[in-house]
């Protein structure tokens, strides 16, 4: 790379992804509302997915689709970005969706049972 500044700016993508994750963690551990916790869990997932996709990125790479145009012009497979992280993220997103759905359902149940969304008041099970 020509300049260190740009070099570090490259990593801003990682930094952002990780920061999103950390924000999610923070929300999970500090926010009192169950809904916010669930949202925070989603935020963690988002950050993570971002991070994973970023790993598969190559500078100047194309989408891993052998469209007619690609086959005509490039033919160079190494120009494609890594498709595997994308495939994995697809799976991870779906799984994250499933978990979020379950969590939301549980929140509904908890609200039905306790009449509150404050996690500090939902501590019947302890010790």
């Amino acid at each position: 790379m020509d300049s260190t500044l740009f070099h570090y700016l490259d990593y801003a993508v990682y930094g952002t992804a990780i920061l999103v994750m950390l924000i999610g963690f923070y929300g999970t551990m500090v926010k009192k509302s169950l809904l916010k916790i669930v949202i925070s869990l989603s935020v963690i997932d988002s950050g993570l997915n971002l991070l994973i996709v970023t790993i598969g990125y190559y500078k100047g790479g194309t989408a891993p689709i052998f469209s007619p145009g690609f086959l005509k012009n490039f033919k160079d497979v190494s120009k494609m970005v890594d498709p595997i992280p994308q495939a994995l993220v697809l799976t991870a997103i779906v799984i994250g969706f499933g978990v979020t759905a379950v969590a939301l359902a549980l929140v509904i149940r908890l609200y039905r049972h306790h009449g509150t969304l404050n996690i500090d008041e939902i501590k019947n099970l302890k010790w």
């Binding site: 990682y14 950390l22 790993i55 689709i65 799976t91 499933g98 509904i108």
Partner: protein, 238 residues
């Protein structure tokens, strides 16, 4: 106090995670030299053997099709769990609670858009092996169509039985196709259909079939999720 502690902890965690990923490097080949990464094989085989142009699709449905089967199962399970968690006896199921009804612009607009959305979804998952998109994406688009309808019409209802039949059939298709491959070629999910020509709609062997099934399944399941949650009547404090 707790916040400070959490922030400190997260700072350390963030530092180590960041350090790790900076080590890995961004935007350039990061695999250890001399190794043959699987992705090269995948990319090569996608064109050569499977005749599928979307490499992601080939990975999701064929190379790592087993993952996708699991993924579909996860969704199926999520719906099941949702139903189980929010299960109520018949007479306890209430009407949807609606704060205010949608305006006529919304209702008629939705009616207008709904077929288009469904069509788009179907397109996306049918062409999953050729262009960006696929079963999951298409399924989600279809589900948004239903969401739109559910939001705009207070008494819009989707047949529960129909949803469950669709998702079951789609799932059976996936697993059944896999087992057919097993019977045909000895390995699960093995391709047993002619692969056709690259970039044709009818190419890629069983991949489109599976992706279409996935599309139906995802659509049905997401709709089911939305429907179930929407019919959760707000219970005012106990």
């Amino acid at each position: 106090m707790k916040k400070v502690l959490v922030i400190l902890l997260l700072a350390v965690l963030g530092y180590y995670t960041a350090a790790t990923f900076f080590d890995i490097g961004f935007g350039q080949p990061h695999f250890i030299k001399g190794l043959e990464p699987v992705k090269d094989i995948y990319l090569a085989q996608t064109v050569k053997t499977l005749k599928v142009s979307n490499a992601v699709t080939s990975i999701v449905v064929n190379f790592r099709g087993f993952d996708t089967l699991g993924e579909v199962t996860v969704l199926f399970l999520a719906v099941t769990v949702l139903g189980s968690v929010l299960y109520k006896k018949r007479h306890e199921v209430g009407e949807r609670s609606v704060l205010f009804s949608a305006s006529s612009i919304v209702t008629s607009g939705s009616k207008l858009l709904f077929p288009a959305i469904i069509l788009l979804g179907a397109y996306v998952f049918i062409h999953g092996h050729l262009s960006p998109g696929g079963g999951f994406q298409g399924g989600v688009i279809i589900a948004t169509g239903f969401l739109l309808m559910l939001l705009s019409y207070e008494n819009y209802s989707v047949s529960h039985t129909a949803l469950s039949v669709v998702e079951s059939l789609a799932g059976i298709t996936f697993a059944g196709v896999g087992l057919l491959g097993f019977l045909h070629g000895g390995t699960f999910l093995q391709n047993f259909l002619p692969t056709g020509v690259l970039n044709n709609l009818f190419s890629g062997g069983i991949i489109p079939i599976i992706y279409i099934a996935v599309g139906f399944k995802v659509g049905a399941e997401l709709t089911g999720v939305i429907y179930t949650v929407l019919h959760e009547k707000g219970q005012s404090n106990g």
